[in-house]
Symmetry: C2
Subunit: 341 residues, 2 copies
């Protein structure tokens, strides 16, 4: 059973997840690498995973081949759906059971294809599965925040090479989200505008950090990028919640996302990367009480954040929270704009 522990010094919760029981020697082994035959995410190996939560398939039985996108519980979940939410004190600390959800979205049955290699139609199906799982978990009032992310490449934290993304639902609003939600809230209260909409408008007018503009989406390098070649993909229209996107929106998004991934692959020769889907938190009240962040105006603006893993987070970054980026976002945008894809 994992635990959430409160650090009173850093003012943050940490998930101590000992399901894998990692001992000193476990950190010296290379990430698992399965060929198609032994890979638990491939056709024919469905029994190697927990039973599926959902799948897109034409016909046939669950947990058999024939699917196009498949969602399963994580084998080593950071958080589990069973358990009690109550926290308790422990000396100067607090602790609570690790309640939440941890799912894996297998993006394709093909072992050798990355998300960037899928067609826009196939990517739209993956995005539709993201939407379905986010909408489903949003109904559980114990879950305060949902984070959908992808780790591609072992340097980016992936332990299996077969294309997949993950969805973790946490019982508390995490600090990165609190900062962004508070910023949006305060900006909206002061100006009755969305701060993301302001940033997007400014960037479209300036142009020097725009990588590619589509009718309904835009890809750009953030002005204050923490990492070289960091990217954002924004819907131009103000929508706080990704689950409100309809099938037409997802088809457009799939084209923009594929474009972004292919430019990255071309310019940086298939780098490891993380992407994170940032969307407004669920709005279900817990114990009759709505979460502060979900109780007022819909002032958030969903988006995708992509971080190629080209540099290490080192002592300075960890010790301060400041980042040193050796490539200007303007240069990065130029390289990405001119990419041959």
């Amino acid at each position: 059973m994992s635990e959430l522990r409160w650090d009173p010094l850093k003012q943050n919760w940490v998930i101590i997840a000992t399901e894998r029981g990692r001992r000193p020697r476990d950190f010296q082994v290379e990430p698992e690498s399965f060929s198609g035959e032994s890979c638990p995410f491939c056709y024919g190996n469905e029994e190697k995973t927990h039973p599926e939560i959902m799948a897109l398939r034409e016909a046939g039985e669950p947990n058999q081949p024939g699917w196009r996108v498949r969602v399963i519980p994580n084998k080593y979940p950071a958080l589990r759906i069973e358990g009690e939410l109550k926290s308790r004190g422990y000396g100067p600390y607090d602790v609570m059971e690790g309640v939440g959800a941890h799912e894996v979205i297998i993006e394709t049955p093909d072992h050798g294809r990355a998300l960037a290699d899928l067609s826009a139609d196939e990517i739209a199906e993956v995005l539709g599965v993201y939407r379905a799982r986010l909408a489903d978990l949003s109904r559980d009032p114990r879950l305060r925040y949902l984070v959908l992310f992808k780790n591609q490449g072992s340097c980016a934290g992936a332990t299996l090479s077969h294309a997949h993304s993950q969805l973790i639902a946490v019982p508390l609003t995490p600090p990165v989200a609190v900062t962004e939600l508070r910023t949006c809230r305060e900006f909206y209260e002061a100006k009755e505008r969305c701060i993301f909409c302001d940033v997007i408008e400014f960037e479209l007018a300036k142009g020097e950090r725009v990588v590619k503009e589509f009718p309904n989406f835009v890809t750009l390098t953030p002005y204050a990028s923490c990492f070289p070649f960091e990217l954002r993909l924004y819907p131009k229209r103000h929508v706080h919640d990704f689950t409100l996107m309809d099938d037409h929106d997802l088809a457009d998004l799939a084209v923009a996302l594929k474009d972004m991934l292919c430019r990255l692959k071309s310019v940086l020769r298939d780098p490891p990367y993380n992407f994170i889907l940032h969307t407004a938190p669920p709005r279900q009240p817990r114990q009759g009480k709505p979460e502060f962040w979900s109780s007022l105006e819909y002032d958030y603006h969903w988006h995708i954040e992509l971080v190629p893993r080209l540099t290490q987070i080192a002592g300075f970054e960890w010790g301060t929270g400041f980042f040193i980026n050796p490539t200007s976002p303007e240069d990065a945008a130029t390289f990405l704009r001119e990419a041959e894809i």
Copy 2:
């Protein structure tokens, strides 16, 4: 010239440091690896670095062999000592010149010896140089915060293998420091006690996370460790500022630090790691106005934080600020306590 850019969404400054001018292909090369002959940190190659800022040597001229510990400006500084502090608006953002300092402390002339391999007396000399450089930079009223850190191993961000640490001085108090300083301030205001002293007292009483206790110092694994085998080295006595440590203190600290590094090396087979010296910020008023964090009681408690780099910071961590740690701090402490050193 580097720039500090304000991200209004994440509410943080980022340093865009383009001295190295890193283009896409630059990220595919391996970290530099010099043999003793070509290494700029070795004896006889002093002219390959900028002129030294200070050095410990018996006799002889500056920038010649004969030194034991040597401090030089970073060849590719993230921040420079020249420049103006004024920030200005730029659309929804803010920007200021990258004013600060970036120094390198070469811990030994021996190419093949790591910090853990030095004798306690040699480590005490390195710590004395830390103290001298921190004290010197503390006198510059433009510098709000000083961070002394070490990246050991290329996976921990080191670009040169020769043993060295770095000191960066920034013109703004960074977010990690703001959180800790605010916590200490609020705790002290409420209870007239130091929160770190409370944590240390609790841990010494419990014992299960204590790795090694010395008369004046203690090494432990934090209750809410973000990473496996994360460590803290605390002075038991309440001291807010590292530069107040006298030579006897540093001699004791060197013994404790060497013990910590040797345990880590033994249990995890010489892992890459980062350590960060957390100390109270300088107390010089800037433009006649003291920094909020340095103006009241001396409620901070200096310490060393050590993070072995065994796991990757991936999409979940980056997207939320929450961390998933697969090894309990109690297990880590047991392994480290039982290490043969």
